[in-house]
């Protein structure tokens, strides 16, 4: 079996699982369905490991599978680019996907849509693999949209809930706004590079950098990169296209972990890293990237502090972490972004799956105000989530420390305009990150056991997120089954340890030639010079500002939620407008609903009633019909029935016609 067959099998194995579970779910039954899908992903994962070893041995593949279409000198092929960047993504995607598949057996055990769910998550895995393995922009766009489709189907998985089907439509449309930019970027590349093959386009990069867009006059490469990045802003939920991600929490928790934390939302980060040979040519684009990333990092983290829904806290935390990755991209530290993508995939998956474990233990309660003191009931969930929270806050020695600290350092060293602002946001967000991470842990697992209290009206906002079935009686939470806890444990291991690979991944030969950095962007190079091993980095880390900011964030959370649990309410009351702004999420949802959704409907109605019905049908069509009626009315007046009048008309008509012809003949017109 040649390597190409192996490459093909990697996406096709999960696809086969998805087809079997999707179309033959009833015949296969529940067990059969999860067996085939898990088998598909397991095969894909095992092959990814094999391919990883092959790539590490120095074998890079770039080739076509078949020609999708050919037109206008553009040959569009479906094909694979297997290099270190791809294979890193393949490992992360397959590993998290496999864990989530197993976890789902427990989480969805009672759900009537069991087979459908497995089919969807396998289909997602296929789509995501197509995205990361592509060697061209068309297939990238296919994967891009396909993961969007599966995300749509999964957010709306519980399709009878009004909030779920609202959220999935919103997610799809907001992503389409991003895709709009993405497609324009692809179109510009096709128009000016005459190819949509990565290698060919990258080879022409420096040529493109000299051009201006013909019609708009924009520097071409900047226009291309910003258009592509708008796509990334949609998929990776960057400000102001972030609005769909918190709502996507309407989907079942396993997909929040897989799609809306670990993999799909990182597609934008991956894409920009993949396009590093283009982005490196435009400092304007990099500056745009770093500023957007910075805004997302800080302002989304702030919202996480006031959320009470456990999943939404994690969702806003994800937004903030994606912001970090984006900042790294803007700082030309692509490898660092991918490194953080990887560590984040592990610890964020643990946070989500842990949150899911809490949610099922409390019979689908998601409001942290109705949790507390859970650590003795859910010891494994508690420990794993605690680990993940430390990692999320960026404290050593866990994974998040190494990647986050490297990002902050890279942003610090970056020279592009906006880097200073980004550095400030990054530091501020470290404190906030420590605060919300430990708030989540302390609020959920420590303190008073609030889940026995009867539900009261004060819930208001959070209540609509709950699954309907009863959590009204007193509950006795207990640890989740093994299919839930084993994935948690397995994911915690890399959440602890994957950061220790920093030497290999960032400063070794891990990415080979997959990532290009321009000579002038020396950040990562400098960091490599200063890097003296994992222990050295930790020792140095505890003497720097980010560590103390994160630690004080954690300490603040400890003080507020364990020492003085009465304080948060007081602070909230005192801070007034500020708290409201955060709780309203800066008003984006309200504004979008009013301006975009409402505005579009208004325009639509205006054009329909005013344009189509009044002007076109009313005046033009029925108007001409009316005119015909009016003229015939006039003509009817002439039809008097008197022969002499007709004769009179005929004579005059003939005379008129003759004189017209004579006149035209005089002027040589006939």
């Amino acid at each position: 079996m040649g390597m190409k067959t192996l490459y093909l099998l990697v996406p096709l194995a999960p696809l086969a699982g998805a087809i079997l579970a999707g179309f033959f779910g009833r015949i296969l039954g529940r067990t059969g369905s999860h067996v085939v899908t898990i088998l598909g992903v397991a095969i894909s994962f095992a092959l990814s490991v094999l391919i990883y070893q092959d790539v590490q041995a120095g074998n890079v593949f770039n080739g076509a599978v078949y020609t999708w279409m050919e037109s206008g000198g553009l040959k569009l092929q479906v094909g694979f680019l297997i290099d270190p960047l791809t294979v890193t993504m393949m490992l992360v995607v397959n590993f998290v996907s496999l864990m989530v598949h197993v976890y789902t057996i427990g989480y969805m055990a009672d759900d009537p849509g069991y087979q459908r769910f497995f089919s969807y998550i396998s289909l997602f895995t296929f789509s995501m693999l197509m995205l990361v393995m592509s060697n061209n922009f068309v297939q990238l766009f296919f994967g891009w949209e396909a993961v969007g489709l599966v995300s749509y189907l999964l957010i709306g998985f519980w399709y009878t809930r009004p909030t779920a089907i609202y959220a999935n439509l919103k997610a799809f449309l907001v992503n389409r706004v991003g895709d709009f930019g993405f497609l324009l970027g692809i179109g510009l590349i096709a128009a000016y590079a005459g190819s949509l093959d990565y290698a060919e386009v990258f080879a022409k990069g420096s040529e493109l950098a000299k051009l201006n867009e013909a019609v708009t006059g924009w520097p071409l490469i900047t226009a291309i990169c910003i258009c592509l990045f708008i796509g990334a802003m949609g998929k990776s939920a960057q400000f102001p296209l972030h609005v769909w991600l918190p709502d996507s929490m309407e989907g079942p928790t396993p997909i929040s972990a897989l799609i809306h934390a670990a993999t799909m939302v990182t597609a934008g980060i991956f894409m920009v890293s993949r396009m590093s040979p283009l982005f490196e040519l435009s400092d304007t684009a990099l500056s745009f990237v770093i500023v957007i990333g910075a805004i997302t990092t800080l302002f989304m983290a702030l919202i996480a502090i006031v959320q009470t829904d456990i999943k939404r806290v994690v969702a806003y935390s994800t937004l903030s972490q994606l912001g970090y990755m984006t900042m790294a991209l803007g700082a030309s530290a692509y490898s660092v972004a991918i490194f953080h993508l990887m560590t984040h995939a592990f610890f964020k998956a643990v946070l989500f799956l842990g949150a899911g474990s809490v949610i099922i233990a409390l019979h689908h309660e998601q409001d942290m105000r109705r949790m507390g003191g859970l650590r003795k009931y859910l010891p494994i969930t508690y420990v794993t989530m605690f680990i993940a929270a430390i990692a999320n806050a960026g404290l050593p020695p866990f994974a998040g420390f190494f990647s986050k600290d490297s990002i902050i350092e890279a942003v610090h060293l970056a020279q592009v305009p906006g880097a200073g602002f980004a550095y400030f946001c990054a530091l501020a967000a470290v404190f906030v990150g420590g605060l919300y991470s430990f708030r989540l842990i302390f609020f959920t697992f420590h303190g008073k056991e609030r889940f026995r209290e009867p539900a009261h009206g004060a819930h208001g906002h959070g209540a609509h997120d709950d699954d309907s079935h009863g959590h009204h009686g007193p509950v006795e939470p207990h640890e989740s089954p093994k299919v839930v806890t084993v994935p948690l444990i397995l994911l915690s291991i890399p959440a602890i340890a994957s950061g220790w690979l920093i030497g290999t991944i960032l400063y070794g030969k891990w990415f080979g030639d997959a990532i290009y950095i321009a000579e002038v962007h020396k950040g990562v190079e400098k960091m490599a010079e200063e890097f003296h091993g994992v222990l050295g980095m930790m020792a140095h880390g505890v003497t720097t500002l980010p560590f103390w900011l994160a630690a004080s964030g954690a300490a603040t959370a400890w003080f507020l939620y364990i020492v003085r649990p009465d304080l948060p309410a007081v602070i909230k009351q005192k801070s007034g407008v500020l708290a409201t702004i955060l709780e309203e999420k800066y008003g984006f949802d309200r504004f979008n609903d009013w301006f975009f959704a409402g505005g579009a409907r208004l325009i639509g109605r205006g054009l329909w009633k005013g344009g189509d019905q009044m002007l076109i049908d009313g005046v033009m069509v029925n108007g001409s019909a009316g005119a015909v009626g009016w003229i015939s009315g006039v003509v009817r007046l002439i039809q008097t029935g008197h022969i002499y009048q007709y004769a009179f008309g005929m004579v005059f008509g003939a005379l008129g016609l003759l004189s017209l012809m004579w006149w035209m003949g005089q002027r040589g017109l006939i």
Partner: protein, 492 residues
């Protein structure tokens, strides 16, 4: 034998309709099976057009020539190139599906209903294969009659208004085309051969006048903004089968006219008028996209969506590059599958609920899961999701448009947002949610026949999305040839 293929494609369904009529409406079982047999035979005779097609040739293939009205040198002249051939197959396939779709639903005068569709199928094949101006015109006008009857006889409560609006609109449009045809006949020294006209040298002013004459006729058919308002009315009143043929095939006739007549015969005028046509196309994409968003009637919504998608076709033609024109042609084929499927889906629901209003539905997925899966699939194709046929044409036209002018591409690409918004918002309100009302609760999922029809279309949509290569492959030579004509000035 092989040279008679186009005649077979035209006359098998038309002559096959005669025994169907003869059976009368009493023997429904026999009528259906005979109609199906005729439709399938009609489809089978078109297959050799594809298998025997030489994609390397730009010239007309399967040419048939016979004198018809010798006094005016009118000929029975048929032939297809890579542009027209796919539409004959599409048309013949859609006819089979339409017969299947009308299997049980049409209770009154089923023989006449089936016969009308078969005749129309033959006439449309005639339009796509006619190479003589008069022959084209006769087929073009004759195809109005069965459609008029289908809407007028089997349509909804307001069918007479809709049928007359449809008829007058399209008839008035094509009268100007007749004038243009006669002018070309005189100017070419007595030839009605379209291919002869391609070689004709014409001054700019007459070119523009001819262009406008064709434009009026074809724009109504496409339909282009602002002469589109007959379409939503016609769709709303037409029976499901009528809507399917209208959307899948009839709308393509106008677009086909542009590539067969306007572009190659009056290229200078086409260039001169291109900014105008491009503007109208973009208005169709954006304006109609917004209008589609607020529709409350599913059929109207899909009708508006059709107009918006056809905007891509006219846009693709008038940016004069290969990817644009091929994209437009691909879009035409794809729209044939997708719009047919969308109208069939609405038909499936209408047959059960006797309502097309979105507000009367909600949570259909609860009672019709199989149907819902297919409907969501087609909705995604309608929104241009990659790996469905809906993506390919839009993608190509957008690429071509950006190459032509960034802002044109920008405006066209808004369909990514608008198309998804109006389609998926409808899906949300119709398919998802809790069971909306007692009627939805009683719905029965689709049966084998409906599954077959929709499944076939789904297979086509998917195949064309995953592997569009064969579709564009047959077009290259002909489109190259067309572009050569367009690039060549025909000024005297």
């Amino acid at each position: 034998m092989s040279t008679q293929l186009l005649s077979l494609a035209i006359w098998v369904p038309i002559l096959g309709a005669l025994p169907v009529f003869a059976l009368g409406s009493e023997r429904r079982g026999l009528v259906r099976w005979l109609s199906l047999a005729v439709a399938v035979a009609g489809f089978l005779v078109t297959l050799p057009l594809y298998t025997g097609f030489d994609a390397t040739l730009a010239s007309m293939q399967f040419v048939e020539q016979a004198p018809w009205i010798t006094r005016f040198n009118v000929q029975y002249l048929l032939g297809v190139d890579g542009i027209s051939m796919p539409f004959i197959l599409l048309n013949s396939l859609i006819t089979v599906l339409v017969v299947l779709a009308g299997w049980e639903v049409i209770e009154e005068k089923q023989a006449q209903y089936m016969g009308a569709f078969l005749i129309m199928s033959g006439l449309m094949n005639g339009i796509f294969s006619a190479l003589d101006g008069v022959l084209f015109y006769v087929f073009f006008e004759a195809s109005l009659i069965p459609m008029y009857i289908i809407i007028g006889a089997w349509g909804g409560p307001n069918r007479v208004y809709a049928a007359i609006k449809f008829f007058l609109y399209t008839l008035l449009g094509s009268l100007l085309m007749l004038v243009a045809l006669i002018w070309l006949f005189l100017e070419s020294g007595g030839s009605f051969s379209i291919l002869d006209w391609h070689q004709l040298r014409i001054g700019l002013t007459p070119q523009i006048l001819i262009f406008i004459a064709f434009l009026v006729s074809f724009a109504v058919k496409v339909p282009m903004w602002p002469v589109h308002t007959w379409l939503p009315d016609a769709h709303v009143e037409a029976p499901t089968g009528g809507s399917v043929v209208l959307a899948a095939i009839a709308l393509k006739l106008g677009a086909y006219g542009f590539v067969r007549f306007s572009l190659p015969i009056v290229p200078d005028a086409s260039h001169y008028m291109a900014p105008f046509i491009i503007s109208l196309s973009l208005i169709a994409v954006i304006y109609i996209g917004f209008v589609a968003l607020v529709q409350t009637d599913m059929k109207k919504l899909i009708a508006y969506s059709s107009i918006s998608h056809m905007g891509f076709v006219t846009l693709g033609f008038f940016i004069f590059n290969q990817i644009g024109i091929e994209g437009a042609l691909v879009q035409m084929i794809s729209h044939g599958f997708v719009s047919a499927a969308m109208f069939l889906c609405v038909g499936v629901m209408y047959d059960r609920m006797h309502s097309r209003m979105i507000a009367d539905y909600g949570g259909v997925v609860n009672t019709m899961p199989k149907f819902a899966a297919l409907f969501v699939f087609f909705a995604m194709a309608n929104s241009g999701l990659p790996a469905t046929s809906g993506f390919v044409g839009e993608f190509m036209v957008i690429l071509g448009a950006i190459k032509f002018n960034f802002w044109v591409g920008f405006a066209a690409a808004t369909t990514l947002i608008l198309g998804a918004a109006y389609t998926l918002w409808m899906v949300k309100r119709v398919v998802f949610g809790d069971v909306g009302n007692a009627h939805v609760a009683e719905l029965k999922d689709i049966g084998g026949r409906e599954l077959l029809v929709l499944g076939l279309l789904a297979a086509c949509v998917l195949a064309m999305g995953v592997y569009p290569f064969p579709f564009t492959e047959v077009m290259h030579s002909s489109v190259d040839n067309l572009l050569k004509h367009v690039a060549m000035s025909k000024l005297q």
